[in-house]
């Protein structure tokens, strides 16, 4: 089945449900952060699972949830990211899944047992406004595809129903939220006494309610700064753990300000960024320091694991029975904990 377009009406959307793609890297020198999905691997997974290019535009869902009514056409979709509760036409699907919907059916996504951000991808081309070459929504300005609200319409051009892809996806271990977040210390750890750095690495922090696409403030020990805060503003990386004058740490995320005048005690390594973003307000995390060299090795190891998983799910697997058999065969590699 292949119609020219599929149209879905948003009948409910929580806050910060937005169009996101692979983001717009390369523009931090103009004050523009990378943006893109908070869980960038989830976007790649959902796109791979429906046969799209990994960085294609999809919909990012917050814990507020999303409800869509298909009013025209039919389309395959995939859901990944946090473990959301997904239904189509009243039928419950897995948390990581490929399904299809057609005119007259309703898709719902509600916060499930774990995770903060879900991604919904459609087999086809999601029509979204571009800004500087990307549909990723910059949440403060609304530039890019934009924030979705009740009444908005989502148009998928060249939608396809790819029945051979239907079924739940395994949730690999690297997609689960992490308790221990790996960081490389610095680049401004010199603003902190040794005792404060030890506190940072040994005590626990709780994600506060001040959590949006820019970052998340942490509750925990106050990290006193040992000198006058007279540093000129320096560039900020996604994952920077920035400590304000009151000693409160904030982890900068997808829509972060590109520079900041507060010292960064540490920076979350790339492989742990997505799993950190899947923690919720109220969750407890600790930070583990590793060397920059080990961080590069960790990034390469993680990249290889994810590439193998994406290649596996990108290929249509035929019937569900075939796929279950294959899943059993490779469970030693990917874990076999199945989608919830």
């Amino acid at each position: 089945m292949n119609m020219m377009r599929c149209e879905l009406v948003v009948s409910f959307a929580g806050p910060l449900v937005s169009y996101q793609d692979g983001g717009r890297p390369g523009l931090m020198r103009f004050g523009v952060p990378g943006s893109g999905a908070m869980d960038s691997r989830a976007l790649a997974v959902a796109n791979a699972a429906v046969g799209n290019t990994l960085s294609d535009c999809g919909i990012e869902i917050s814990l507020g949830g999303l409800q869509l009514d298909c009013v025209e056409g039919a389309v395959s979709f995939a859901v990944a990211g946090g473990g959301f509760e997904v239904t189509v036409g009243g039928v419950r699907l897995g948390g990581w899944t490929v399904g299809k919907m057609q005119a007259g059916q309703r898709l719902t996504m509600r916060a499930g047992g774990w995770g903060s951000w879900g991604v919904l991808a459609f087999a086809g081309n999601v029509v979204a406004k571009q800004w500087l070459g990307s549909a990723a929504t910059h949440s403060q300005s609304g530039f890019g595809g934009g924030i979705l609200r009740a009444g908005d319409r989502i148009i998928v051009e060249k939608p396809e129903v790819r029945a051979a892809r239907d079924g739940d996806l395994m949730v690999p271990d690297w997609a689960r939220p992490v308790d221990q977040v790996r960081v490389v210390m610095g680049p401004q750890e010199r603003f902190f006494e040794a005792g404060i750095i030890e506190q940072f690495l040994t005590e626990k922090f709780v994600l506060s309610e001040a959590y949006d696409r820019m970052g998340v403030r942490l509750n925990g020990p106050k990290l006193a700064v040992n000198a006058a805060l007279d540093m000129p503003s320096e560039p900020v990386l996604r994952g920077s753990v920035q400590v304000a004058g009151d000693g409160v740490a904030t982890v900068m995320l997808a829509d972060h300000g590109t520079t900041g005048g507060y010292p960064k005690i540490a920076t979350v390594i790339g492989p742990d960024l997505d799993a950190f973003a899947q923690r919720r307000s109220g969750d407890v995390v600790g930070f583990v320091a590793i060397s920059a060299e080990d961080a590069v090795l960790a990034a390469r190891k993680c990249h290889a694991e994810i590439a193998a998983y994406l290649a596996y799910i990108a290929a249509p697997k035929g019937s569900l029975a075939d796929r279950l058999m294959q899943a059993n065969l490779i469970s030693g590699v990917f874990g076999d904990d199945g989608a919830a």
Binding site: P25, G26, L27, M28, R29, F30, G31, V32, L132, H138, Q140, S141, F143, V183, V184, G186, P187, D230, M231, P232, S233, E234, P235, L237, G239, G257, T258, T259, G260, T267, V268, I269, G270, P271, A292, E293, A295, V296, A298, A299, R300, H303
Partner: protein, 226 residues
Amino acid sequence: MTDKDFPRFRAVADRAVLVEFGSQIDAEIHAQVIRLDRVIAAFPVPGTIEVVPAYASLLITFDPIATDHAAVIGGVRDRMQVPDMPGAVARGHDVEVCYDDELGTDLAEVANMTGMDREQIIAAHLAGEYRVYMYGFAPGYAYLAGVPAVLQLPRKPAAVRDVPAGRVIVAGPQCIVTTLKMPTGWWIIGASATRILTGEVARPFRFDVGDVVRFQRISRNEYDAL
């Protein structure tokens, strides 16, 4: 700090290097930032993704699958030996400002704080020689340093929410023409019709870091007509 402490290289996570040229806002330090930025633009370091210049440092991000910190630092050190790029002349920009009280909502307060009257404040702002030191905070927020000493003020104790786009704001030696409705703790002295986010595909941002900016006064009628 003595000069021999710099340049200093710091590894940032698994995917960036911060090159520090100093620890304060200073024209000569910033000139070194700009020089390295231009050389790297002309001779990119393999495996790098972007270079972000700031007041006294540059962040160079890279793909950890393709390279690592040591290789990037080596590549940057090599490029520091390259003389300045010929033809790297800073461009000049005129930015029009209307200092109407309805738009420059803090003019009265700034007059109280500085002891200058409204016209003296405006003259001081217009007399400044401004250079684009960096972008930061939000898309298109270009940090222009060069506010004269008589007009340098500490930030407000608390930020004001929902300041409209296009406001001309100052704090310390810095001035920004805002591009989005955002909070700010800086002092709002006017409004500009000159868009920093140009909306042009070929040149979406009006300034490059290192460019020179001059402010031109316009009347309320001229502002409203733009």
